[in-house]
Each structure stands twice: as structure tokens, then as C-alpha cells.
Symmetry: C5
Subunit: 162 residues, 5 copies
Amino acid sequence: MKIIGVVDTTFARYDMGRSAIDELRSNGTGFTINRYTVPGIKDIPVACEVLFKEGADIIIALGMPGKMPVDKISAQTASNGIMNVQTKWGRHVIEVFVHEDEARDEKELAWLMDMRSREHAKNVLTLLFNRQKMTEYAGQGLRQGFPDVGSVEVPLKGGRRH
Amino acid sequence: MKIIGVVDTTFARYDMGRSAIDELRSNGTGFTINRYTVPGIKDIPVACEVLFKEGADIIIALGMPGKMPVDKISAQTASNGIMNVQTKWGRHVIEVFVHEDEARDEKELAWLMDMRSREHAKNVLTLLFNRQKMTEYAGQGLRQGFPDVGSVEVPLKGGRRH
Amino acid sequence: MKIIGVVDTTFARYDMGRSAIDELRSNGTGFTINRYTVPGIKDIPVACEVLFKEGADIIIALGMPGKMPVDKISAQTASNGIMNVQTKWGRHVIEVFVHEDEARDEKELAWLMDMRSREHAKNVLTLLFNRQKMTEYAGQGLRQGFPDVGSVEVPLKGGRRH
Amino acid sequence: MKIIGVVDTTFARYDMGRSAIDELRSNGTGFTINRYTVPGIKDIPVACEVLFKEGADIIIALGMPGKMPVDKISAQTASNGIMNVQTKWGRHVIEVFVHEDEARDEKELAWLMDMRSREHAKNVLTLLFNRQKMTEYAGQGLRQGFPDVGSVEVPLKGGRRH
Amino acid sequence: MKIIGVVDTTFARYDMGRSAIDELRSNGTGFTINRYTVPGIKDIPVACEVLFKEGADIIIALGMPGKMPVDKISAQTASNGIMNVQTKWGRHVIEVFVHEDEARDEKELAWLMDMRSREHAKNVLTLLFNRQKMTEYAGQGLRQGFPDVGSVEVPLKGGRRH
């Protein structure tokens, strides 16, 4: 039985944790969920540390950085913290950040936060249960939330698929 | 008996530590307070390290970055240090920074520094004594100091509350 | 028998991992390859950590940061993570990043992603099997992908080659 | 007998270490000084590490970042290094940086470098021998070098001094 | 017998490692040199880690960041990595970076890369064999490559030289 950690915030304007959990439960079994909600994105890394200590095999960390310059800095600090925790443990923390200014309006923002959370939840399941499968999509220009942009591939100079 | 660390600075233009302690004492029991005042925000992380060594279970770290570009860099350095200390220990350091240029005038600045300190002090109590309760507010667009901005939620595609 | 780790992403728009592996296999023997594909560049460092734990002696990490400012920040976070993992282990992670806006069009982008991956794959082999040989090219203005820019050397003040 | 480390640079345009040592000796006893001069600010953190290994209880680190953008980046790198060393050891490194462009001319620059070094030297003594006293000045808008800016405090909503 | 590590790159447009080694050998004895050439500046920190593991007492790390914004970020990442390695080991890594756009033309670039490498090589010898001597030059406005800028010192308020 694997444990999937879900970390989210009260700062975000959409319940991304719920979307992620819904998607996880709709697409797989063999895991339990340990959810930890914190005030803001800079509180996410220590929550990841706590969840790893409590046994999580992988974590999905969801947040919505605000529009102000200071929010961008906070996002960077949070990302660096998430980076340090996952490399220390050797376990993935899939960071799902939706910047508030990525969307044109609140409706699109809600859609994007829901969709990116769901698509990354699927990545979590693949990385946890079937890591090798990810290589089938290497270099395919995949995106989460907005549409995939695809490959720019041209004929190889004598190359072959591995 | 839990120990709550309170770290603040002589650089700030309002006694945020006093506000935080007042709010902590008005809203809970079962804890003692260990307060550590340092000159500036870049001295906060090592004070957190010392307080954790002295047994703190959680820390509230209060500071006021100045208006100059060099102050913004100092705030980032301080945040990264706070991040490293809390992830090392696996215990929260709730960072309460009020940027001097967030407020229109000194009166609003004083109000904001008092209010944000108090609202984050409540978060400290929740995280320390009742972590699961935080999830009830996930994605609700909560803010500390200025008013909450609320959720942008739209009807879910078959989703359900967890 | 050495182990070379290959880390790449599904976000990239060209299968850089395939190019690197093709070049490695065309230029050397005495190694096996352990490939790990992740969603985006910020997932690369933890994949490197996992591969080092699984025995990799050196890693080539391939990614394509996007064009947006937020992508540049992600690249920086990823690079810092890669830096921490390789200095922790004392083993090289050769970072092969092609920024999407380095190329004039998709055709050049594909060419650049292929070529830089291949040229860095050769660096991996040299560092792994014949580290001293690299010094022969010190200060020669070598580049990977785009052409070498060469040396600006002028006559030395009594200096001698070592 | 406590040990106070003093780290300074040959890059700075004023002998800040001398000012700090003069102030330390004029204001206290019960300590010895271990001074370590390095070429530039990016060499400061490792000097701090060495001094802590040699027994320093606290360190004052003095430097003068130059005017160019690259100097600002160096200052940030140095600050992050200082941060890591002090949080690792749980002992203060009081960073005294005077940016070359903070002053209007060379005379003011010399004055500022002398004054800020001296005022932070007093902070070092307080933190080392009488940490609790620092709280009396919490939120008072203290500065080192240029004049204090003071508090913006307004009547509290029923609050009380602690 | 001390060991001095020399790390340089194939990316640089001048053989800085040769200049450093020439200067080291012209100015001192009692050491051997362990040289490690890597592709680019972001590969320098792990090479430092390897050389420290192989016994280096001090390292001189030489590189030439390019002109593009992405090169500036790489330099910052490299500097942070160098910082972490040297503070971890408690041994100096003297970073000698010449930014490609510091010089007006290729001739000056070559001169600057040679000169700065040589002047920092002398710093390496001083730090390794005679650390206390460095304090004689504290606050003297020393530079490496371009001319020293000197001190801005004014008469002290009753201060004395230490």
C-alpha cells in the first residue's frame, strides 16, 4: 500500500487538493492519501518534509502564486524549498503551481487550477506505479492544463528509437 | 506543554512580536513562549535554529523588509534561510513579513503589521494543535492583514468534496 | 561496467534523451544506460538523486526551458537542484538545456536540441573514462550545439604550456 | 572566555574590521578576537566556517559590495553563504555590508563604513552576552550607520506590553 | 606537502588554468597541483568536490561567463555551488570569473583573463601558507586584473590600528 501526500493552501482561490484527490481516486488504487493544508506556498516545503516523515512515497504540492512581484519571489522560494526536500528524500514532489495571472479571468483561472491539478495527479500515479512508461512520452511537448504543444521533431540523422 | 517561538526584529517599525504574543495568549493555552529579538530579517533564520534547539515546536517569525531594492534581496535571503531551517527540522516557521511599501502611509503600515501578525498567530495555533482543521479552508483565497479575496470556484465536472 | 544515467522530460519538444543515448552508444562501450523520464525540468534533480542511488556514475540531464519569464525561473530552480545533487554525490550531472527561444524557428530548435545533446554526450564519455583529456581543450572557447567561438589568446608574458 | 570572529576583506575601501574591533574592545570584556581577512565578499562564508571550527561563538562579517550589477549578485551569493553557515552552526554571523553606492561621496562612504561597523559591533556584544535585552528595542525602527527611523506605532486595540 | 586544486573550463576563451599554474609555480613551493578541466562553469562545483575528496587544501576555480542573460544566471548558479562546496569542506575555493563583457575587445579580454588568474593565484598562496598576512591589506580597495581602487579612509575618531 503506497502513500500519496497532498499538500495545498488556504491562499489559493480554488480547492486544487480536492481536484487532485478526485483524479487520483478515479484513476487508481493501491494507495492511501495523506492531505496537509497550509496557509501559503512558502509553508508547502515543510509540510512535504512532515509527510515524507509520515511515510509518503510521493507528494503532489498545489499552490497559486499571486500577481504581485513579491508573490513571484515567494513562489521561487517555495520551489527551492520543494526542490531541497525532494532531493533530500529521493522522492518526487510534483509541484502544481498556477500563477494567478496565467488566466484571463476568474472562470479560466478556476478551470486551469482544476485541470492542471488533475493532469499532474495522473503524472503522480505514473511515476509511482509505472515509471518506465513516462519515457514513451519523452520530448512530446506535453503540458498540464493548457493544451500540449507537441514535438518539433525532424528526420534523424540515422538515429533510431530506443 | 508546547513551546511557541517568537522571532522579531529591532529594524521593524512596529512591535509585531507583541501583537503575535497578545493574540496567541488571547486564543489558546497549553503553550509557553520563547521570544528572540534580533537586529534585522537576515538574523531571523539563525534565531529560529537556536529556538528549535531550545525545544520550540513551531515558530512565528516577524519582520518588515524596507523599501529599497537591497531590502528586497535581504528579504529573499531571509526567506531562503527560514525555508532551510524549517525543512531541516520538519517544524513550521510561519513567516510574517510586511513590506514597508505595502501600506499607503504609516498609519496603515502600523495597522497592517498588527493585523497580519495577529492573523498568522491564529494560524500557528491551528497548525500546532489542530492541523486537520486547516483543510476546511483549502482554496478559499484567505489572506492575512488585508481582506480575504475568496474562491473563484465554478461547478465541478462531477467532482465531490472530500 | 559503468552506469550512465539519462534524465529527460515530456515537456521538451524533441526527444533529447534518444539523441544522447544514440551518441553514447555510437562512441563508446563499457557502460549501461539507466533512463528516467520526468514531466518537467523541475523534476530532473530528484530523478538524478534516484539514479545516483541506483548506481549511476555520471548523468546527462536534458531539458527545454520554455519562453516565458516563469520558465526562466523554473530553469534556475532546476539548475540549483541539479547543482546540489551533483555536489552532494561528487559525480557529474551534465546539464543540457536548450531554451526554446534560443532558436529562430522550430527546425533550428530541433537541430539544436539534437546537436547539443549529442555533443554533451561526448563530454560525458570523456569525463567518465578519460578526465585528463579534457584539459587539452581548456580555454578553447568550445560550445555545444552552435559552433565553437575559439580562443582569444595572445602571446604570453614568458608563460609556458603545462 | 568567549571568542568573537571578525571577517573582513581587502576589496573594501575602508578598514571595517579595525572599526569593529575598536568598538568591541571599547564596550566590553570577557572575549578574545579571531580575525580573518579574505580577498572579497564571496570568500567570507568559508572564513566564517573556519572561525566557527576554531571556536568562535559569534562572528561579525564586514564587506563592501561594489556598484556594478555583478557586484550585487556577488553580495547575494555571499549573503546566502553566510546564511547557510550560521544556520548550520546555530551561531550568529552579523553581516555588515555597506554598498559602495549607498553613500554620496567617498567621505560619506568612509563615515558610513566606520559607523555601521561600530553599531553592529555593539549588537554582537548584546547578542553574545545579553540576548534578552534586544527585545526592549523590538519594532523600534533601529538602523546601523544612518539614523534610526523610529516606530510607526498607534494606540493598540486593547493590547498590552509584554 | 600541500595540494592546490585548479579547475577550469573548455568554454572559456583563454587558458586561465595555465596562467594560474604558471603564477603559482613562479611564486612558491611546497605544493603539488591537481588540475581538473570541465566543459562549463556549472560543472566547476562538482569538480571542486572531487578535488577536495582527492585531498586538495585549497582550490582556484577559473571561468568565463558569457554575455547573454542566460550566462549570467549560469554564473550565479555556479557561484552558489562553489559557495556550498567550500563552506561544506571549510576550505577556500577562490573563484576567478571574468565576464566576457567586462573587456572592450578580445585583446583586453585575453589580458584580463591572464592577469586576474595570476593575481588570484597569489591570493591562493597567501591564504594557504600565510593567512594572517592578508589582514595587512584589509580595506585597501584591492582588485584583481584591473587596477586597485584604494582606500577612502579619513582620520579616525580616536581609533587605533590593530
